[in-house]
Amino acid sequence: MSEHHHPNYVKIWAILVGLLVVSVLGPMLGIQIVTLITAFGIAVVKAYLVAKNFMHLNIEKRYIVYMLTTCLVFMFLFFAGTAPDVMEAEGSNWEKPSFELYDEAASHTVGHGTAHH
């Protein structure tokens, strides 16, 4: 492993910090789509950079990457199978009155914490 050419770690760190700044500032524009892209798109890019360069997945055996990807795929599978029941407030022949009641109650308690300031 020592014979391979090291990436410039400090440079990658600088890129990561730059991305962090963007991901914090982006949402301040208040545009939802920008928030989504800057927050989660950049998180994916950052994770990719760390995994590739710091964890050296780029020079690791392929099946390690496959194994880790399989884990992620199973998580998406879990999400896809579960979300139609858990994430939705209503579906085919069922509804969750509890979600509506909760959302109403929860948005009233917002001030609760800040009131102590």
Partner: protein, 570 residues
């Protein structure tokens, strides 16, 4: 990992030449040797099987003769009944099937069968057992605390499991959950060890397709366990916080959803079935090839079907929840995936049956168990189709039909698979032969009553009776005398079966002390563990073997012997 400490327990002065007698303490209580850790798992598993069997005896007595004083327990109250069925299920899966099939056989067999001297992380291996043992203690403690043991079924669905006001077991449910979580940690550690050992430490020359099927199966099972248990670990933390801190992860009044737990649970729970099935299938593969003197029919197909089953098993979990409030449209998808999984499993059974063709079958005790596994597991397999088909599951859900179905899968897996394995490898484990005559008495005394227990329960299920109801007399229409008679038949069969287990215990203990000395390779098998002394010493092989061929080269034409050990150069 470079260990600076000697790998077997410390002789007091470091660097002292080893091979002096280890103390009792370091040899049996805190061992690093994979075989001894396997034995610890084995004996703990057997002890827990006795506990689980005793629970089964207690609640079956209550079901057959409601309200009697069960000898050894007393009156079975509804709370007792719930706690008994809950812990019977949990114990048999988490504290019997998994430690015995995966941990005990895995620990004992993997290093021997791949031809190396130990696991790659002996100390993590020991830690894994210690955590497992701790989980047993926590589980036992859950019976002794105020409020009694948890009685919300092994699936622990909230809100019943989440709030003490519903379950009435404020401490029991948390301790139960903690015990299960500790067990998961133990098997995660053990699993990493198994996987890395089998991947990295194989004997020189042992290629992928030279690995015995049972090793493949245990490793695949460990991988599946590892990939499926994560969400449930997270879920267990959430449920624990719900119980002890009063959070509302699963509380609908606070934005939670009880159905989430069901998904977290079954995303693990369904692969878990295959986690214990695959090792049992592997054990059976080893035994039928040896005693039919046949090469395994289509080795690669077995592997592919195992992989296929493994992957598909992650896509079927919601068939446990068809009528549990999931969206009806999702049921179609899960019906299709569920019926698809019958294909690789059916294929695996066909392969095993095809292996018998042209064989020279010797019906020794291990072979009887292995064949019984196939015959009985088929019943469990085909009845599963009824439950995987969403339309039929509307009627069968949570009925005795389900119960009979999964006992026809789990009993072959956990009990028949265990007996097959233990009667086959006993000579290697303990260096003595089991008594074949007692073994056969025990076999027939177990198999016949086993069918007597669960065949009647299929009929109860067809008649619409549900599980987990401690006394059916509140249902005048459903509790007819004929159905009650079937219940009594099941209970009597159970008593007979439990009685015959004494034959095994006698055989086991007697053979340990006075059995005939076992030769190195009593069954004339090919795999590497039989090329080590019986029992193998610490370090296993005098010289570590090199592998020249696959594990199932039996009856190769042109050879004088009908077997050909993997490590024989010629």
């Amino acid at each position: 990992m470079a260990e600076t400490v000697p790998s077997h327990p410390p002789a007091p002065e470091e660097g002292h030449p080893h091979h002096e007698e280890m103390s009792f303490w370091s040899k049996y209580i805190f061992p690093l040797d994979h075989k001894m850790i396997g034995m610890q798992y084995l004996f703990t598993g057997i002890a827990m099987a006795m506990v689980g069997g005793f629970f089964a005896y207690t609640f079956r007595m209550q079901l057959a003769f409601p309200g009697i004083e069960v000898p050894g327990w007393g009156l079975v109250s509804p709370a007792d009944y719930n706690a008994l069925v809950t812990n019977h299920g949990a114990i048999m899966i988490f504290w019997v099937a998994m430690p015995v099939l995966i941990a005990a056989f895995g620990n004992f067999l993997i290093p021997l069968m791949i031809g190396c001297d130990d696991m790659v992380f002996p100390r993590i291996n020991r830690l894994s057992y210690q955590i497992f043992f701790l989980s047993v203690l926590v589980l036992i403690a859950s019976f002794l605390v105020e409020g009694g043991a948890f009685g919300g079924a092994w699936t622990a669905y909230p809100p019943l499991s989440a709030k003490a006001e519903y379950s009435l077991t404020p401490l029991g449910s948390s301790l139960w959950l903690l015990a299960v979580a500790l067990e998961f940690v133990a098997f995660l550690l053990g699993g990493i060890n198994f996987i890395t050992t089998a991947m990295n430490s194989r004997a020189p020359g042992m290629k992928m397709y030279d690995i015995p099927i049972v090793v493949w199966m245990i490793v695949l099972a460990s991988i599946m366990f590892m990939l499926s248990v994560g969400p449930l670990v997270a879920g267990a933390v959430m449920l624990f916080f719900d119980q002890q801190l009063g959070t509302g992860f699963f509380d609908p009044a606070r934005g939670g959803d009880p159905v989430l737990w069901q998904h977290l649970f079954w995303f693990f729970g369904h692969p878990e079935v295959y986690v214990v099935l695959l090792p049992a299938m592997g054990i059976v593969a080893e035994i039928i090839t040896v005693f039919a003197r046949k090469k395994l029919f289509a080795y690669k197909t077995v592997l592919y079907t195992a992989f296929g089953t493994g992957i598909l098993s992650f896509t079927v979990w919601a068939h446990h929840q068809f009528v549990a409030g999931i969206d009806p449209r999702m049921a179609h998808i899960f019906t299709i995936t569920t019926l698809l999984i019958s294909v690789p499993i059916a294929e695996m059974c066909f392969v095993y049956i095809a292996t018998l063709y042209g064989g020279s079958i010797r019906l020794t005790t291990p072979m009887l168990w292995a064949l019984a596994f196939i015959a009985e597991f088929l019943i469990g397999g085909v009845t599963g189709i009824f439950l995987g088909a969403s339309g039929a599951d509307i009627y069968f859900h949570d009925s005795y039909f389900v119960l009979a179905h999964f006992h026809y899968t789990f009993f072959p897996i956990a009990i028949i698979g265990f007996y097959a394995g233990i009667t086959y490898w006993f000579p290697k484990m303990f260096g003595r032969m089991l008594d074949d005559r007692l073994g056969k008495i025990h076999f027939w005394g177990t198999i016949i009553p086993f069918n007597g227990i669960f065949l009647p329960l299929f009929i109860l299920g067809l008649a619409g009776q549900h599980r987990r109801i401690y006394n059916y007399e509140h249902f005048p229409e459903l509790a007819t005398p004929e159905l009650q008679a079937l219940r009594v038949l099941a209970t009597v069969s159970l008593l007979v079966m439990l009685g015959f287990q004494l034959v095994f215990l006698v055989n086991f203990v007697r053979s340990l002390r006075r059995g005939e000395k076992a030769p190195q390779n009593p069954w004339k098998a090919n795999t590497l563990e039989w090329q080590a002394p019986s029992p193998p010493p610490h370090g296993n092989f005098a010289t570590l073997p090199t592998v020249y061929r696959g594990p199932y080269e039996y009856s190769v034409p042109g050879r004088a012997e009908d077997y050909w050990p993997q490590n024989a150069p010629e």
